[in-house]
């Protein structure tokens, strides 16, 4: 059989789906526009809730990629339907005839400087969650200088219609709690505050992590959104929020402010979407055929979706989604695709 499957995006979803499809006997080609595989996972240090090293998770994913052809630094130049399949021209000149396409274009991190009131890129000691992960990996960041008071701002660019995102980014709460604990471990004398709107500790063990953060790390959770950040004359940050639990405005001086930038539909993914003529929902993520029963199928026959391309997901969610996509593709290629005579039939009945 050896049908060709094209995977767009080399993040966790693409890698996991690729490895599974390869094992199922398909001819898998993975295209990644950046120069490395792994997506955001490659930039992260540790993963919640257990603190698994991200590199270990990534190595595991990469380790099962035997036989998958991966092109990094490669863009999709054009993608056109040819019969039941897709004719894809890549930026490196290669043309592929793919029987199924998996779009795993993931997400972009919200650009925290867009929330001007937080002063990212303007104040000396304002960083993002991604910056902090890089610091954990490398130990280098001039903005982090033995802080004694640290604040974490949840929902930066999430649940914020003004910055164009009404929905929750799902992972930031748990990430903030994880990072807050890590910072407390790194700077034991520090007092750490987490400014949250709602704490979404939905996953297994997350509530334990939250309890530990309070009990063992003494992290203070303040229900209220940080609304204003200024720099004091000594370079520290003056942060204003409301403590909505006691209904009072609140001010605190901090040495470091970490912004939990949320997820956005990836810009490169949007380009793929427009090449394919795929529908976006209002939130910018790709529309799925059915939220409940066909999460990994797009409305176009032969085009599958996995990972954060269809909305914010945790790593385990993403991997499960990718495995789901692999079985969906397998079902399609072994069952539906050979039986369908032409595209019309494919669209009308089988999809």
């Amino acid at each position: 059989m050896r049908n060709n499957v094209l995977i767009i995006g080399g993040g966790p979803a693409g890698l996991e789906a690729g490895a599974n499809l390869q094992r199922l006997g398909y001819n898998v080609l993975l295209v990644e526009h950046s120069n490395t595989l792994g997506g955001h996972l490659g930039k992260w240090d540790r993963l919640f809730p257990g603190g698994t090293p991200a590199s270990a998770a990534l190595d595991k994913l990469l380790g099962s990629m035997d036989g998958v052809k991966c092109f990094t630094d490669t863009e999709i130049q054009s993608i056109n339907r040819l019969g039941k399949s897709y004719n894809v021209i890549l930026s490196n000149g290669i043309t592929v005839l793919a029987d199924a396409v998996l779009v795993a274009t993931g997400f972009d991190l919200f650009q925290a400087e867009k929330k001007e009131e937080y002063g990212y890129g303007i104040y000396d000691h304002v960083i993002t969650n991604a910056d902090l992960e890089l610091y954990f990996k490398t130990g280098l960041d001039t903005r982090i200088n033995a802080p004694r008071k640290i604040g974490f701002v949840h929902c930066v660019g999430s649940r914020d219609e003004k910055s164009g995102c009404r929905s929750c980014s799902k992972v930031c709460c748990a990430t903030a709690v994880k990072q807050a604990c890590e910072m407390k471990a790194a700077f034991p004398d520090a007092q750490i505050y987490c400014f949250y709107m709602d704490l979404r500790m939905f996953g297994r063990h997350y509530e334990d992590m939250y309890l530990e953060a309070q009990r063992d790390y003494g992290i203070r959770f303040i229900r209220g959104r940080v609304a204003e950040v200024s720099e004091n004359i000594d370079g520290s940050l003056s942060v204003k929020a409301e403590d909505t639990v006691s209904s009072k405005p609140l001010k605190v001086s901090l040495d470091l402010l970490v912004l939990m930038a949320g997820m956005r539909p990836s810009v490169s993914g949007q380009r793929i979407g427009s090449l394919l003529g795929m529908q976006n929902e209002k939130d910018g993520y790709f529309e799925v055929l059915s939220e409940i029963t066909a999460q990994q199928r797009s409305s176009i026959p032969g085009i599958f979706l996995a990972g954060a391309a269809t909305g914010p997901k945790t790593i385990p969610d993403t991997l499960a989604d990718a495995r789901g996509a692999a079985t969906q593709i397998d079902k399609y290629l072994s069952d539906i695709f050979p039986k369908a005579k032409d595209l019309k039939q494919l669209i009308k009945t089988a999809w």
């Binding site: 007092q191 505050y193 309890l211 309070q214 009990r215 003494g218 203070r220 229900r223 403590d243 639990v245 006691s246 009072k248 405005p249 609140l250 001010k251 605190v252 001086s253």
Partner: protein, 110 residues
């Protein structure tokens, strides 16, 4: 001094910089449960003294962490230690010992 008929108002704002970390840490050493509160308000809802006078353990914990020790102490001084709050606390906080510990640590002048 001129009487203008109005004047500067005291700020109602919480200044977290006034939070005494050392004191709160010693409270947490005395009764670690203080850090477990999720501010659900069950304690306040059932409070025996709360029927007659503003008593709220939940709010007191909050105020202590907001550096408003005096306010917190006032919220607990009417407590009769009856233990209803212990029975309803979803986190299993030793509320009575916590209240005693707060009184112990925060009644000491610096």
């Amino acid at each position: 001094m001129v009487d203008f008929g109005y004047g500067l108002l005291a700020s109602s704002r919480i200044n977290l910089d006034l939070f005494d970390k050392g004191k709160f840490d010693s409270l947490a050493a005395e009764e670690p449960d203080v850090r477990k509160c999720i501010a659900c308000g069950s304690c306040t809802a059932v409070c025996t003294a709360g029927k007659f006078t503003p008593t709220s353990l939940r709010a007191a914990i909050e105020e202590l962490q907001n550096g408003r020790d005096e306010v917190a102490m006032n919220m607990l001084k009417g407590c009769q230690l009856c233990g209803k709050c212990t029975m309803v606390c979803p986190r299993g906080i030793n509320t009575r010992h916590l209240i005693l510990s707060i009184a112990k640590i925060y009644s000491k002048k610096k």
